[in-house]
């Protein structure tokens, strides 16, 4: 294939070199270290990019300039923010449970890291091709809520506690419809593995295969993902106007930065999952048997495809934030329990019927 | 250190079981007692999976028992929590000693 050098080839080269140089145990350890460094690096980059992206997108939507002092067009603004957060004093409020207070952001970031493991970033480039990938993701992401609850409780602050409870209710609720919409794809694919799900879209992304249930599932997934990451219009957990930032009111400095980072990474992760499930992951865009076009598309590296799709979804979610007004907590829960959940259950039935009757392409 | 096998896991599950037992005896708060029960259930699950893996790897019965126990544990926890919260509303306490009057 006339392709540019791909991530999988780079990783293969490194792997071969390591195997040739060290014994297997060490190879494993070094590879783990490399993966860890890569993930941390990715986190840093993502944090920087997403923060500036959010600010720019919001400025663009609200027809204003946004950050424009640091660096060209304000591009280094988030760097400056990071430096500020790093040097700021980390305060721990009086009466807080220090152990849990410190543990909470750590859990948040660790969970975000663990979630990275099964995601296929490019063709044959995946840290852990676990055969229950989708289930793994929804399982591990449910630990996220614990860190929020922990932060809220440990702060010994009633706003934090309220924010944490709201957030807990919200995440637990929306996990249901997110899970159900994921299962729609799982049913069509017949596998839980990310790798297989991506490969099942080789002749067309699920979103473009013309299944109505898939479209419904996609919409529900995007809504649920927005809610699960506590983003506006579902940012009830933070709710600056009522709770003065919710569960991380008392956090400052590095710990706050960790929460902040975890939040953005989570946005990235859910968008990556959405892209994998519905938009074909790293699969290039193909049109039927239009060979020429398809080859041009194949020439674009798969990692670019993946990132492109993911960032498209991130952009979508940011767009929501600056477009829709915020919901009240009861409206939020009503939306989930009275509308999304029934719809996604019905959708699940529909997709099951389709899969059994073989109505898919 | 020896390579871990069935007996190691059984040791862990038994230890978990009796830690749960201890919690159930020594705690007075209903929520912590519920947590102890969860530990006990988990030790059972661990046993099932260990037996399934080491004694009958071709079969799935241990897996199914575990799945059903997890499902039932979820139901049990939900009901227990509902009861505890109701108790809290009426007694303003979730101390197990305070629930004694329920025997009348």
């Amino acid at each position: 294939m006339g392709q540019m050098i791909s991530l999988s080839e780079i990783s293969k080269i490194i792997d071969n070199w390591l195997r040739a140089t060290f014994n297997p145990t060490w190879t494993l350890i070094i590879e783990m270290v490399i993966a860890g460094v890569c993930v941390i690096g990715l986190f840093a980059v993502l944090g920087l990019v997403l923060v500036i992206m959010e600010r720019k997108v919001s400025a663009w939507i609200q027809i204003r300039l946004g950050p424009n002092r640091v660096g060209p067009k304000g591009m280094f603004q988030s760097m400056a923010d990071t430096v500020k957060l790093l040097v700021k004093e980390g305060l721990t409020p009086d009466g807080a449970d220090k152990f849990l207070f410190n543990l909470a952001p750590l859990i948040a970031i660790v969970v975000a890291m663990l979630l990275m493991a099964p995601i296929a970033f490019a063709r044959d480039f995946q840290m852990w091709d676990i055969n229950i990938g989708v289930l793994y993701v929804s399982a591990v992401s449910s630990v996220m809520v614990i860190s929020i609850l922990m932060a809220g409780w440990a702060s010994n602050n009633k706003y934090s506690l309220l924010g944490a409870m709201r957030s807990g209710a919200q995440i637990v609720s929306y996990e249901l419809s997110a899970g159900l919409s994921i299962i729609a794809i799982v049913i069509l694919t017949g596998s839980l593995s990310f790798n297989e799900i991506v490969h099942s879209q080789v002749d067309g992304w699920w979103i473009f295969k013309g299944h109505i249930p898939v479209l419904i599932a996609f919409v529900i997934f995007i809504i649920a993902a927005t809610a699960e990451t506590n983003r506006a219009p579902f940012d009830l957990a933070e709710a600056e106007s009522e709770l003065t930032a919710g569960f991380h009111t008392e956090y400052s400095g590095m710990k706050f930065a960790l929460f902040f980072l975890a939040e953005y990474v989570n946005v990235f992760i859910v968008c990556a999952i959405g892209a994998t499930l519905f938009l074909g992951g790293w699969m290039p865009f193909h049109i039927g048997s239009w060979q020429g076009f398809n080859q041009v598309m194949d020439y674009i590296p798969s990692s670019i495809w993946f990132m492109g799709k993911t960032f498209f979804l991130i952009f979508l979610i940011m767009w929501f934030r600056w477009t829709f007004p915020r919901l009240r907590i009861d409206q939020l829960l009503n939306l989930e329990w009275k509308y999304l959940l029934p719809i996604s259950m019905f959708n699940l039935l529909l997709v099951t019927a389709m899969a059994i009757l073989g109505w898919h392409f | 250190m020896i390579t871990p096998g069935l007996y190691h896991i059984l040791f862990i599950s038994t230890a978990l079981f009796f830690i749960g037992m201890y919690g159930f005896f020594a705690r007075k708060n209903l929520i912590t007692m519920l947590m102890s029960i969860e530990l006990i259930l988990n030790s059972v699950n661990l046993n099932f999976i260990a037996f399934n893996k080491y004694l009958w790897p071709g079969r799935l019965d241990g897996v199914f028992f575990t799945i059903f126990i997890i499902a039932i544990a979820a139901a049990e926890a939900a009901v227990a929590i509902a009861i505890i919260i109701n108790l809290y509303r009426s007694h303003k306490s979730i101390d197990v000693e305070q629930t004694e009057e329920m025997k009348y």
């Binding site: - | 037992m21 159930f24 005896f25 007692m33 197990v96 000693e97 004694e100 329920m102 025997k103």
Partner: protein, 651 residues
């Protein structure tokens, strides 16, 4: 049978009325309940008439003999290959006749009640009960097996109970309905045992098979039934007598008659329907249904005959002294049923000797007409006067002309004055008794004279005699006209029944209803009729002399009769006798010891068990502390103890 549905509908329509009105009546259709029930019953009556017509004139007769036709039959409870309880319908001449009588009287009572019970709070309930009663009665006459009949028999008892106790806020009504229920229930016990005896020996419950097996002298069942004996009397006779006790209870035969006069506490149309025309003849119907079997046992026949004549005489004597008009009618009913009963008792099967059976059924038929008429007439009077007592009445002929005329017709009919219906049937009964049972014949003759006397005593007391002012106390004079006769709904049944009472006697009953199904021609002996008619006229004469004008001769003569009058007035102390037996003897000798045993031994045992448990519980209560954790520790200790026990100690 193609007309199975048609026959099934006859009882089912009243049942529908019961269900509809019972469930929704009081709430939704209270006002129109009467119309609904009447309409349903009219349909039922039309079907019954049509069925009877078909039976008598189209298919019933095969080679000159009326057949027993099983319209339909479903097996319900299968006990063994042979023995099963079925639900079915059996049509034979008496069933067809009873269908007509029951639906006809019931329909008229329904119509009559429209006016009589207007404005009653539980109007719909009343009609529901009427529907239930009609259903049960129709089911009873249609029953194809003895157990089905028993079921409906009890249903009749229940609905009678409900209707007697309809005014349940009146203590006397409550007492009366309880009494009626207990007495008939007591008699039904005999019936049930009789059923068990008969069906045990016959090996079946089905009427046709039962009659067939127990009447053929060669059959194994017959031999067994006659061979087995108890106290020197064969099992068959015992069974029949026991069955007859059930019939006697329902038909108010002596000495089980005590409930009937009290049953007059129910609404008057109910008395007309149940306690005059239909339910009380159930006993007669039962005997008639099993007539071929009764025929086998002379003892049973004698029991029937003598019970009948004793009841007839005693009731007639008591009736002469009663002052409550409904009670007079009640005793007269009992007396007339006594006539029917002994007519059955003296009858034989076949030919001229079977006259008793025909006469009995004929009398049943005519009696239903004129007795219902009497009761409905009495109802009209009571409606007007608001009293049951004779002393509150008198001279009502001006206010109630139609009632007066129809009542007179009925009185003439029951007294046996030609050409009214009662004459013909009573003549036949007397004729049937004449040949072989002189004692019965003469007693019956006297009784029929007494009948004329007390009926006209009643008639004159109500419509002639003194002037009454009672009505003006209760109702303003200006509306007495309107109020008096009770409108068309009350008058129509009276007129129809009066016509029936006039004409029913001319039906040649022997053509239709006989013991063996073959037509029977009875010659009417003119000379024979002289004695009864003269006696009846004499009775009427005495009554006219004593009661036409208000005078003191009735009192004088009753004083002269002294103790006899007093005894008759007190109904020969039979109620008191029952009271004495139950309260003094049974309560003291059986009830008290049983109560003592129950209180001290049975209860004592239970109480001691309870006390012992409580004491024990008090001692071990500490273990049941309500502390969950303690329980858990006990549990763990128990499990571990058992583990040690089973693994180390008890290998």
């Amino acid at each position: 049978m193609s007309n199975a549905l048609q026959i099934a509908l006859i009882p089912l329509l009243p049942l529908a009325a019961f269900v509809i009105l019972g469930l929704f009546g009081n709430k939704y259709v209270n006002r129109s309940a009467g119309i609904i029930a009447t309409f349903l019953l009219a349909s039922s009556a039309a079907l019954a008439f049509y069925t009877a017509y078909q039976y008598f004139f189209e298919y019933g007769k095969v080679e000159g003999v009326y057949q027993k036709v099983t319209a339909f039959k479903y097996t319900w409870l299968q006990f063994s290959d042979q023995l099963s309880i079925d639900i079915g319908a059996l049509i034979d001449p008496i069933t067809a006749m009873m269908l007509v009588v029951v639906t006809f009287i019931s329909l008229l009572v329904h119509i009559y009640s429209l006016a009589y019970l207007k404005g009653e709070k539980r109007f719909a309930t009343y009609y529901a009960f009427l529907g239930l009663f009609t259903f049960s009665m129709l089911g009873l006459v249609l029953s194809s097996n003895i157990f089905q009949m028993y079921i409906f028999w009890e249903l009749v008892g229940v609905s009678s109970f409900l209707l007697i106790g309809f005014y349940y806020d009146k203590p006397s009504a409550v007492a009366a309905c309880k009494k009626a229920f207990i007495v008939t229930r007591f008699a039904d016990l005999g019936f049930l045992i009789g059923i068990l005896v008969l069906s045990f020996y016959a090996g079946t419950l089905d009427f046709n098979t039962l009659i067939e097996r127990l009447t053929s002298l060669q059959s194994a069942e017959f031999k067994m039934a006659t061979a087995a004996s108890f106290m020197g009397i064969s099992a068959l006779t015992w069974g029949l007598v026991l069955v007859f006790i059930g019939g006697a209870g329902k038909s108010a035969m002596f000495p089980l008659h005590i409930w009937l006069p009290d049953a007059m506490e129910g609404p008057t149309p109910v008395s007309a329907l149940i306690h005059a025309a239909t339910m009380v003849v159930a006993g007669v119907f039962l005997v008639a249904r099993l007539f071929p079997v009764f025929q086998i046992s002379p003892i049973a026949m004698d029991v029937v005959a003598y019970t009948g004549i004793i009841s007839a005489l005693i009731a007639a004597v008591i009736a002469c002294t009663q002052t409550d008009i409904k009670r007079v009618l009640a005793y007269s009913t009992m007396s007339q049923i006594g006539f029917m009963m002994f007519a059955l008792g003296v009858s034989k099967t076949g030919g001229e000797a079977g006259l008793g059976f025909t006469a009995s059924m004929f009398h049943l038929f005519t009696h239903a007409m004129f007795k219902a008429l009497l009761f409905l007439g009495a109802g009209a009077v009571i409606h007007y006067v608001h009293s049951n007592e004779m002393k509150d009445m008198g001279g009502l002929r001006k206010y109630l002309p139609i009632t007066h005329i129809t009542f007179l017709i009925a009185c003439l009919a029951i007294s046996g004055i030609p050409p009214f219906a009662g004459f013909f049937s009573k003549e036949e009964i007397l004729l049937a008794a004449y040949h072989h049972y002189p004692v019965i014949f003469y007693t019956a003759l006297i009784t029929s004279g007494l009948t004329a006397f007390y009926m006209f005593r009643l008639y004159f007391s109500i419509f002639w005699n003194k002037q009454t002012q009672v009505h003006s106390e209760h109702s303003a004079p200006h509306d007495s006209e309107k109020h008096g006769e009770g409108g068309l709904a009350m008058m129509l049944p009276l007129i129809v029944l009066a016509m029936a009472s006039c004409l029913a006697g001319f039906i040649h009953f022997g053509n239709f209803v006989t013991a063996d199904g073959k037509p029977l021609t009875t010659a009417l002996h003119l000379l024979f009729s002289v004695a009864p008619v003269v006696l009846a006229l004499a009775g009427i004469g005495i009554a006219t002399w004593l009661f036409l004008r208000q005078n003191d001769s009735p009192v004088k003569y009753s004083n002269k009769l002294g103790n006899l009058y007093k005894a008759a007035h007190q109904k020969f102390y039979i109620d008191e006798l029952y009271g004495f037996i139950t309260q003094k003897i049974i309560f003291n000798l059986v009830g008290r010891p049983a109560a003592w045993f129950d209180k001290n031994i049975v209860d004592g045992l239970v109480n001691e068990t309870g006390n012992g448990t409580t004491t024990l519980a008090e001692k071990i209560k500490a273990f049941q502390s309500g502390k969950v954790q303690q329980y858990a520790i006990y549990f763990l200790g128990g499990v571990m103890g058992l583990t040690v026990l089973f693994i180390y100690l008890w290998k």
